[in-house]
């Protein structure tokens, strides 16, 4: 499929998704739509890290910093939404750059543990620095997004914003993976020594990936905060990156569409099982165990194998 055709197909899908709430007219489903979009963007940010073979448990913190940042920039400094929103995400990216400079020297399990410790420190800071972050109660009354005097009050409007974010995340990640940048990233994971011997500055590339990943997480967090109009520390702890890993493993790490599948399947669950949240967590756990053992390629991998089987086993 030519690039033009893919782009048109993509835009058509987005357009169809955009009109969906107006057809379905269900606030509950629209809400689920918003959550799916936000988590798609977040899960894609984690997918980038998984592609370079690293898990970052700092992403909950990045999400939280985006949420608090955007809220504070609007509430305390009176900045308009677009400035606050992107400003917060850029601040998160800058922090990721600084942190990444030091953390990315470390590899494997130790890197995961580092990001875990970092994430915990950030959440504890949210709780402890009461004057700035509002303590364990957090920040209430976060303003709604809006620009040029027009505020987004309705859930449908929010859905469009979230959909735009998800579309951006998907398009950019997909474009990265299809490009030479993507080839470098997968090569780094597959064989770092060989890739470096070919002149690739692996540290810079890992840093770039980490920063863009944090940028997406920051954007998602900011939008999340404005959606809930409430930013509390417990929403941004260790549970977030765990969920993102679950989404990616079950959906399939190999292609961004797998991540979307994971979000489509798993995000609605907590909303439907609202009163039985623990059953949702239990299901996540059991699914994760099952997929890790028997379907490590995730749903995307399984579908791929099925399709290849249907075509009569070509290649």
């Amino acid at each position: 499929m030519t690039p033009m055709k893919s782009l048109l197909k993509f835009l058509a899908i987005i357009a169809a998704l955009a009109v969906l709430p107006f057809l379905l007219r269900s606030p509950f489903l629209t809400h689920i739509g918003v959550m799916i979009c936000l988590y798609t963007a977040l899960a894609l940010s984690m997918n980038l890290m998984l592609r370079i073979g690293q898990i970052s448990f700092a992403h909950g913190a990045f999400m939280g910093l985006g949420a608090y940042g955007s809220a504070l920039l609007m509430m305390r400094l009176g900045l308009p939404f677009p400035l606050a929103f992107f400003g917060a995400a850029l601040a998160v990216t800058l922090l990721a750059w600084l942190v990444g400079l030091v953390f990315l020297r470390i590899r494997g399990v130790y890197f995961v543990l580092l990001t875990f410790a970092f994430g915990e420190i950030i959440v504890l800071t949210f709780i402890e620095w009461v004057s700035l972050f509002g303590g364990s109660g957090g920040l209430a009354g976060v303003p709604r997004p809006g620009w040029f005097g027009h505020e987004i009050q309705s859930r449908d409007g929010f859905y469009l914003l979230a959909l735009a974010l998800a579309a951006f995340a998907y398009a950019s990640v997909h474009a990265i993976y299809r490009s030479e940048l993507g080839a470098v990233i997968t090569s780094l994971d597959e064989n770092e020594a060989l890739t470096r011997s070919l002149g690739i500055d692996s540290r810079r590339y890992r840093l770039l990936t980490f920063c863009f990943s944090a940028f997406l997480a920051g954007l998602s967090g900011a939008l999340y905060g404005h959606y809930l109009t409430l930013v509390t520390p417990e929403d941004y702890g260790f549970g977030v990156p765990v969920n993102l890993v679950v989404l990616n493993v079950i959906g399939g790490v190999a292609h961004p569409i797998g991540t979307v599948l994971g979000a489509l399947l798993l995000v609605p669950l907590p909303e439907f099982l609202r009163d039985a949240k623990q059953y949702q967590v239990l299901l996540y756990g059991i699914l994760l165990i099952f997929f890790l053992l028997f379907m490590p390629d995730g749903l995307y991998g399984a579908i791929n194998r099925f399709r290849r089987g249907e075509k009569g086993g070509t290649q």
Binding site: E180, L181, N191, D201
Partner: protein
Amino acid sequence: MSEVVLEVAGLTKAFGGLRAVSDLSFSTFRGEILGIIGPNGSGKTTLFNLITGVFPATSGSVRFRGNPMSGLQTDAIARLGLVRTFQSATVFKHEPVYENIRRGSMFGCIGNPAWFFRRGRVAAGASKARTTAEDLLEFSGLADVAGTLAGNLPYGKQKMLGVAIALAQHPLQLLMDEPAAGLNPSETEAMGEFIAQIRSKRGIDVILVEHDMRMVTSMCDRILALNYGKVIAIDVPAKIVAHPEVIEAYLGADFE
């Protein structure tokens, strides 16, 4: 008088109390194939790692075409034109042969992510990568397996591919880590011919670290013999094989 390509001066590396290499000095000249031999533990690997920037030297210097290389990372050294190959076949197993070689060329152009933003650089690099890949497929004799996944190739061809990938960066000097390791006699011969052609047809200088004495003596213009981290001798093959200290160092060790 040929120009000096690689100049090693007073190179020393100590790990704690142990000196892996002591006060090594030698130079390579334009157009030559230099062999480096030595029994296990003689410091060959350490020397290799020092030149390719795996770790810094304790003292001494390495200069490549006049550029000091101390403190440079392996990728920066590769971008300067000094490219290494690996002792065990190192390829992108899940990619076809063509893509492997293409990446060898392409990655050299985008070593620093900032270069993505230089206008036209990526496009020019991609086009050059395609031509390079086609050319090297022929040159390395891998054209018939261009579409095969690298992991599915027989080991000997994987090692050839490894060399082709290194060549794709258009290096000035190739630093080869035991190219014959793991190869049977006919594959070794093919590899030897390939290396000779790299010098004669492409004008690329070669440094070989090897155990296979037949390959080394037949191909190299000069041989550097190491033992206990020090240079025993550096001379033409005929003189090296007759050198008393070299013979003594190899007594009891592999001498194929």
